[in-house]
Symmetry: C2
Subunit: 127 residues, 2 copies
């Protein structure tokens, strides 16, 4: 499948697709081929890759919208709050990764097919 086609399906731009897929390629989850007839192909077993793997392949983007204003501070109040916050956020992030680590692409694939069967409409990609 080409970046062009994926971009259309995702309502975005081919370059954005390439940026994202680049991370997946580096980790061997997909393979890309240049030139005529090129594009992207899957190169992993869906039941061996989890959302956590994807998240990390995508360079583990920032998870939280909140956080410490600065790590290093002279202010003891801020220091105390930072300490509490960091500890909570670390715990929560660990739980997040654990959850994501349990969801395989195969599970999503199966879920998709269940939804597709439930719809009995025409079978085109996205829509």
């Amino acid at each position: 499948m080409t970046s062009e086609a994926l971009a259309r399906a995702l309502n975005t731009n081919p370059v954005v697709v390439r940026r994202l897929m680049g991370g997946l390629r580096e980790h061997g989850y997909v393979h890309s081929e240049k030139g005529h007839g090129g594009g992207w192909t899957l190169s992993c077993q869906l039941d061996r890759v989890t959302l956590r793997d994807i998240y990390e392949a995508l360079d583990a983007p920032r998870l939280f919208a909140i956080g410490n204003r600065s790590e290093e501070t002279e202010c003891l109040v801020e220091e105390a709050v930072n300490h509490a916050m960091s500890s909570v956020l670390a715990d929560v992030k660990a739980q997040f990764l654990a959850c994501f680590g349990q969801i395989t692409l195969a599970a999503l694939h199966a879920d998709f097919h269940q939804r597709l069967a439930a719809r009995h409409g025409p079978t085109t990609l996205c829509k």
Copy 2:
């Protein structure tokens, strides 16, 4: 304490302080007084207010930097992914709130005083 003084301690602007404190006032955690000699005063018991209470008083700002691109979609793949994501994020958010719900302001206050004692420097607010 005036918004002005707080802003200086927090390295920010008095109006920003007022915006934040406004949420706390609505929930009765602080009290404000206008005019000469006015400013902010605490009006809660530190051991009865948790970070969770503060978070919610501040209108529960967005917690995650990631999330579903859109809730409603025609795309069954997106639907499957959204479903998995939402479920994980909801679980994780619940854990976050639970953690925050266990940290009282009294605990932070105690932690601050411990840090202060450990430093044996002059005792000025922040620095």
